[in-house]
């Protein structure tokens, strides 16, 4: 699945669209940045409610290519700006993390085999 395909899904609104439209290979759902840092796969989409500039820093270091902010949490401008600088896509959604994960997993072609 390409990042742009997330944009085409009804549940998600793209709020930071200056990104490289690369292939998303996995997803990771977490609100703890150290957890993301340590465990998220390269080229994954991060599903979280942690709408903060630091989330972008961690994503960039971990190789996360897109972030989905759940539960309609408000996203600070500085987070958007940081993501723009790093070329990381940001989406917002009213869905919670569970539903978002399920939706994304479906489009990734099911849960990737562990």
């Amino acid at each position: 699945m390409k990042i742009s395909e997330i944009e085409s899904l009804e549940a998600f609104a793209c709020v930071q669209a200056e990104y490289n439209d690369v292939e998303v290979r996995a997803g990771y759902t977490s609100d703890l940045l150290s957890d993301v840092m340590g465990n998220a796969d390269e080229d994954s989409v991060l599903i979280t409610i942690q709408a903060h500039k630091n989330t972008v820093a961690v994503s960039s270091l971990a190789g996360v290519v897109a972030i989905i902010i759940c539960n309609s949490r408000s996203i600070p401008d500085e987070m958007l700006e940081a993501a723009r600088n790093e070329g990381i896509a940001i989406f917002e959604t009213a869905e919670n993390q569970f539903n978002t994960s399920a939706l994304i997993a479906q489009h990734l072609g099911g849960c990737p085999a562990r």
Binding site: L33, D35, G38, E42, A57, S60, L61
Partner: protein
């Protein structure tokens, strides 16, 4: 970079790097004059006079049980009690330093206590040396001269562009989450531009970022140093305190002392240090309450190890 008002010692990054990098054992005087419990104050006086020193530890079976300083000697002298045993006049509760602590801990200790010297002990708690400010001055001059010489040589043979050799120290301030992560990003970019494979890159990024955030979230301030060559990336984090009470606990996944505010920034999951250790090929931590913490992580750039995670 603006100066932090509470900083006790405003030295250059080079000097700070030095005081963090040197171990007490490399700086202390190893030839110690000590007395046993059954010696008299007069014995101490003779030792002090003959060797121009101002403090003599009292030992029992190599363990430090007290220290007699110039002050104690003068008190005894005033009372005409130079024939008394040292036990009567010595200070019994002695603050010692461990020989493998970084020199920065000692400097904190000199700031915290008003002692002029600290007995130094090994892991078995046996007296192995004594540390005075004079030792520190000597060591700093020696090391700075060596570094200046190196810099002069480097100036004559400048490092070629694209080389993996890199040395940089970043200053980090408490709760400055705005800038936390900058050093790690810079290092990651540096290595990426030089073709380091993604998996290795990731390991360096994890170690460096966790240490960087630790300094910001948990220390009163410190520095993060990178020493990179063709073989490895060495990351050292040093801070001025508060120090970790139980390093073993701090290394346990899920254990965290983070407050609500730190957690609201997305940190404090208790995974920082365990993450660093997991991705490092070599890992060491040293901490003392009131003095500081030092963490060193080394990641090999050896491509054969690539398939290991």
């Amino acid at each position: 970079m603006d100066g932090e008002p509470r900083e006790p010692l405003q030295s250059s990054l080079r000097v700070q790097e030095l005081i963090y990098g040197l171990r007490i054992s490399e700086v202390m005087t190893s030839k110690v004059f000590a007395v046993s419990r059954n010696c008299t104050m007069r014995d101490v006086q003779t030792i002090m006079k003959n060797n121009s020193i101002t403090g003599v530890p009292v030992v029992d079976n190599k363990r430090v049980v007290g220290i007699v300083t110039m002050n104690d000697l003068m008190n005894a002298l005033e009372q005409g009690a130079m024939g008394d045993g040292v036990v009567k006049w010595m200070v019994g509760e002695v603050q010692t330093l461990a020989e493998d602590m970084p020199l920065s801990f000692a400097i904190s200790a000199f700031g915290k206590f008003s002692f002029r010297q600290f007995p130094v002990v090994n892991k078995k708690n046996e007296l192995t040396g004594i540390l005075t400010f004079r030792n520190i001055n000597h060591a700093l001059i020696r090391e700075l001269s060596r570094q200046l010489r190196e810099m002069e040589q480097q100036h004559e043979n400048p490092v070629e562009p694209g080389s993996l050799r890199f040395n940089k120290v970043y200053q980090l301030h408490r709760y400055d989450f705005e800038n936390g992560g900058k050093a790690s990003s810079e290092i990651k970019r540096f290595l990426k531009e030089r073709g380091i494979p993604p998996k290795t890159l990731r390991r360096v990024a994890v170690a460096s970022y966790e240490l960087e955030i630790n300094l910001v979230a948990h220390s009163i301030g410190g520095m993060l140093g990178f020493d990179i060559n063709e073989k490895r990336v060495k990351i050292s984090a040093h801070d001025r305190g508060p120090g970790i009470e139980d390093t073993e606990k701090a290394m346990t996944e899920g254990f965290s002392t983070a407050n609500e505010w730190i957690r609201s920034q997305g940190f404090g999951a208790g995974m920082g240090l365990p993450n660093v250790k997991r991705v490092s090929d070599e890992f060491a931590i040293e901490s003392a309450v009131g003095m500081g913490t030092m963490v060193q992580a080394v990641i090999h750039l050896n491509p054969e190890k690539e398939n290991e995670d």
